[in-house]
Amino acid sequence: MKKVLVAFLVLTMVASLGFAQATKVYKVGVSMPSATHGWMANANWWATRAKTDWEKRDKNVQIELKFSGNVNQQVSDIEDLLVKKVDAIVVFPHDTSVTSVVEKAFNQGVYVVVLDRGVSKEGIYDIYITNDDEAYTRKGMEWLAKQMSFKGNLLLISGTPCPIDTIRTDTIKEVVKKYPNITLLDVQPGDWNRQKSLSVMENYLQKYKAIDAVYTADDDMMLGAMQAYKESGRKDIKFFLGGGCLKDVIKGIMDDSNPLVKADVTYSPSVIATSISYAVIGVRGEKLNPNIYQVRALPRRIILPSELVTKANAKDFYVPEAPF
């Protein structure tokens, strides 16, 4: 009887070991800012969608999302994820203050994917993914300059002051410098906020009597600025350009329903979903494509293109089920 019992126990243990190995469950933690503006709300939605898709596709993948309101909370979230022994972590930083905790994760052997605003130290991540901030406003500004026939008065509403915003604004100024007949009248921050942008635009309209085009750092602010313009009853502005592709704006471009808004530039919020997928593939040691001749299975740095969206290609960028 005893022997049978022992044999049974051993058998179960071996079986469970085999079972455990066959179904290694990969836990992926995701830490990102919470939805404080339309673009980030879309990014939150994409993260949730990636989680749902992966967990439906593969029951050995568990994804835990942490949305944080500030960087201290984010550091706590990452520490908490490390306590929960995640195999991979995807970090969309509030700012580079997360560097030390990301380094801690990497040194513990966690597979690390860092996005966008990045970390301030090299070699502490497996993959870095970002949208192309420089091209984001370069393509937009080149398009706008052409629409303006390379002359006229331009106003700019920038985002919340931060390094990314500085890159974008500087790029716009650089492009404008090439065209001496375009005057950049003013740059004021609109904090990526529709109300703030509306009041900035109201002030602009009081101050400047002839405006040809308005460039805002994203679509949320563009809608706010356009609201102010409509309320003013003025007729001088010919072009509004935002960025980031909110679905209503894309729909408008697709249907050609607003003569003021003819284009947009992508800064895809799906970057977070892409990153989650890279984390899953990377932590499992898989390749994107077995036919690729690379020493490393996945690239270290990935820069997603910022693309100009006009009526011709708008339908490719229309995501009706996204929240904004």
Binding site: S68, P161, P163
Partner: protein, 331 residues
Amino acid sequence: MNATAAGKIDLEKYGSLIALGTLFILAAIIGRPYFLQIENLVNVMRQASYAGIIALGMTLVIISGGIDLSVGAMAAFVASCGVLFMNWILQASGGNETLAIAGGIVVMAMIGLLAGALNGLLITLGKIVPFIVTLGTMSIFRYVSLQMANAGEFASHSQNFGELGMAKLFSLDIGVGVLSLPLPVATLFVLATILGFVLDNTRYGRYLCAVGSNARVAQYSAVRVGSVRFWAYAINGLVVAASAVLLAARFNTVSTPNFGLGFELDAIAAVIIGGTAMSGGRGSIWGTVVGVFMLQIIQNMLNMAGLSPYLQGVVKGVVIIASVYIQRQKQ
């Protein structure tokens, strides 16, 4: 008769500790199996300590019948100046790290004291309501920092300063995990001991309560009301500087738009949960320490349970209101 009175006092005194204990057990259940891991408990204490230290100074300010909304922005300003000064010494002294860190800490303490004193002067001499003064200085401190950094970051060039931020007073492997006492947690307890002593056992502490509960009566009793309130803000500035040093060292960089963001609300919430009356006159430092840990435990427990972060904010709000409600019932 005496026994029941003693029992009542005990309940009042230890009520918040009992609440903390209950919450701890609840957290162990909801956040299992992660919550009780040593590493997690150390994390919780450290995560709580930065805003927690600020909550200690805030307790004095609130007892004095005031409020300080500028603490988070002040921390950013203090840390920005400190890191700049540290980098300057490093360069000037040819890389003398010890001198740089010591100098940086002294400068941060001084600037914190001055910033707090500015609040105090505007409130006492300027006779402006604390809410308005600190609302104003909140904006000033934040935007001066942003202007200094062009909305970017000040990275410290000192390697040791970053290590100071991760420093532990002791670290002991007890088999199931590594038990350690991180520097910010130790600082929290040391400051709580000092400020608790000041509040409960010194003349200044008694004056503070008197001023907070009724400034006019205090004045007639020959208490120098202005000076008492001034020092509450000045001490608070010094305490903010302590938190700023630790947080700047932790990140080894100061990101001016985000550093200390929302600390004022976390600190005020901890003070209120800890049983200090919002109207002033009455409160306790150790109550605030309990409040600080309660808030962090709630957040950690919900995080471990995987509750949506948006709902976590809802729970936090409910706890703040509920704890004040319970304390009102008690009075």
